[in-house]
Amino acid sequence: MPQHTLDYLDLLEAESIHIMREVAGQFERPALLFSGGKDSITLVQLALKAFKPGKIPFPLVHIDTGHNFPEALEYRDKIAEQYGAKLIVRKVEDTIKARGLKEPSGKFASRNALQSYTLLDTIEEFGFDACIGGARRDEEKARAKERIFSVRDEFGQWDPKKQRPELWNLYNGKIALGENVRVFPISNWVELDVWNYIKREGIELPSIYFTHEREVIVHNEHLVAMSDFIRVDEGDVIVKKNVRYRTVGDMTCTAAVESTASTIDDIIAEIHLTNISERGETRIDDQVSEAAMEDRKKNGYF
């Protein structure tokens, strides 16, 4: 009699693969939102395993803010090529021009909110009925309450009061024309689960997740990378530090952490020891207000 025991990573993986297959089974034109960050590369790995020996039956979509780390973009292109996946890139820059949107101003002006416009245009352009995203419920309290199949209206809006109850492992992806569903297969994973999975699967990552020397501005205890996208004021303290990124977002609103972690094991040890949450430490855009994420989601953010 073989042993019927599964590790917690096996159990999480089995659930996520089940969700991936539900997407492929229930929708006509799904897409996987891929940024080159650790959560979305975990999704790619899960999708690969879900459909082996076939290829991933949907394209990878990147909404490029124009403020990305070059290392992440390079990695994005490499992964798409390596797995023979179709990659669709749409640029926020183009949406700003085409729609005459107003660029946010300020020191660390973030195009994060503008991303929603490009995403909705892309959904319309390709007729996507489901977009798979790498959001996790442990990240933020608005996400803690979102369903795995999250139905959005034609404006991409999330209405927390109209969520469908999600029972057992049954997902209801029925929608009307114009609506779409955001699907979050790693909802039940926490930050360390993702890292442990990346380690177990031997997944390659963009280099900025590991320690490197970088010029940063010290701002409200956050370290923000020097780049063409931020405004340097007189009196700014610019220093060279050994840093790494705990999350990969835009260069304008993602803070680096001081670190000498050069391997996945180092990173896991570091996260075990840290006493600050992932978003608290690295995301400048969440700190505008306590309900920043809730507001963005209601406006079509993923």
Binding site: H4, I17, R21, P53, P160, W168, N169, L170, N275, E290
Partner: protein, 413 residues
């Protein structure tokens, strides 16, 4: 390290939020910045003291409207286990939320206020736990500090609850006297209650055996997706992707594809593209069959079974989850695993009072949060199990055909 999913039932007044906050706090699952946010919000608290209940605080939309939306999920882990908490509000109007949260939980923590003992709400939560067939029930008798840590109070509550649990045929019930506020018997044994010889809550959560709840005798595999690479080297490859709900599958197994009843033999079992000797619940896998037969999403691959049902007439106990009432004769979509089929509500047999389990055949209408027994007629046969016999293949949902919302959770019979 494995995984436990549990639900906490109780209201804020029972100290449910404090209990969850305590579990998160004592397992170091709360980070400094999250603590600071909470401290800022902790009003009327003396210096240094934090309101653990605020860790489960919800959205601004909820605070502004004084409502609680649905189920929130919280996570923590110890060296032994990862835990997923479904945090569902416990008041009467939230039957829908409790049913949702309980549907994929292995265990339920029912909070009892030591000062109040077993009340209507306790009974309701226990009845719902029994309807949802939760394998493990833990009754935490909270606020023991407010009854002087009295063993007598504890013993009498245990006696009263046990009587009720027995009448509901609940198998695995455990009791723990706690103070969520002060941490008694949560992570560490309470010095205030030396008379209690049982395990602490965390110890119980870490050690309860959930693998034994899986049925390895009855094999169920719903086909979610057919993998057909159609590439040069895999020209004839046809793999059925799905999740093993229960049981095991290996090469050479004789199987039947339901509801059509076509028989075949397993050619190979693959997990993540690699051929394995055996796939077992709850793994996601791919099954290939010897015969070239027409199998689609929604089909169920099973091994020999005496209990599986194939029918167009289905009895079910359902929890109604929509604002518009359930009307006899209405048509819906019934989703059982990957199978979706049109159906009509032929008969509403009786309403179940979730406070007493009494059946009422006279009722005005079936509204949000009502639990009723119905007879459903499906447009084509479905293969399913009785929820009480094989929970993994007995749950279903009803979907509104035009609004597309999920309107009911069904426990098929």
């Amino acid at each position: 390290m494995d995984l436990l999913r549990f639900i906490t039932a109780g209201s804020v007044d029972d100290g449910k939020s404090t209990l969850i906050g305590r579990l998160l706090y004592d397992t170091d699952s709360i980070k400094v910045d999250q603590l600071e946010t909470i401290q800022k919000q902790s009003k009327n608290k003396s210096e240094g003291e934090i309101d653990l209940a605020l860790f489960t605080d919800g959205l601004r939309a909820e605070r502004e409207q004084g409502i609680t939306i649905d189920v929130a999920y919280k996570y923590f882990n110890t060296e032994k286990r990862k835990f997923i908490i479904a945090d569902a509000p416990g008041h009467i109007q939230y039957t829908r939320n409790m049913v949702t949260g309980a549907s994929n939980s292995d265990l339920i923590i029912i909070l009892v206020d030591a000062r109040l003992g077993v009340i209507e709400q306790t009974r309701r939560h226990t009845i719902l736990a029994s309807l949802l067939q939760l394998p493990h029930v833990v009754v935490t008798i909270n606020k023991m500090d407010m009854v002087d840590f009295s063993q007598e109070v504890y013993d009498s509550i245990v006696a009263e609850y046990s009587k009720m649990a027995e009448s509901l045929k609940i198998k695995d019930v455990k009791f723990i006297p706690i103070s969520a506020l002060n941490g008694d018997n949560i992570v560490n044994p309470s010095a205030n209650m030396p008379w209690f010889k049982g395990e602490t809550l965390l110890h119980l959560l870490e050690n309860v055996n959930v693998a034994q709840d899986i049925n390895y005798d009855e094999s169920r595999f719903p086909v979610q997706y057919v993998i057909r690479p159609q590439s040069d080297d895999l020209h004839d490859y046809r793999g059925y992707a799905g999740k093993v709900l229960s049981g095991t599958y290996k090469k050479g197994d004789r199987v039947t594809v339901l509801p059509d009843g076509i028989e075949s033999v397993v050619e190979a079992v693959e997990v993540h593209g690699l051929e394995v000797e055996e796939a077992f619940a709850p793994q996601s896998a791919v099954i290939r069959l010897k015969d070239d037969i027409d199998i689609n999403r929604g089909d169920l691959i099973v091994k020999q079974s005496d209990i599986i049902k194939i029918s167009q007439d289905v009895q079910a106990t359902i929890c109604w989850m929509d604002n518009r009432p359930l009307v006899k004769g209405n048509k819906y979509l019934l989703q059982v695993q990957s199978k979706r089929v049109r159906c009509v509500i032929k008969e509403i047999n009786y309403k179940i009072d979730v406070n007493t389990l009494e059946r009422h055949e006279d009722f005005d209408q079936v509204g949000l949060n009502d639990v009723v027994n119905v007879t459903i007629k499906t447009a084509s046969p479905i293969a399913y199990d009785s929820y009480n016999t094989l929970r993994a293949n007995g749950g279903a949902i009803l979907i509104d055909e035009t609004a597309h919302t999920t309107v009911a959770g069904c426990m098929l019979q």
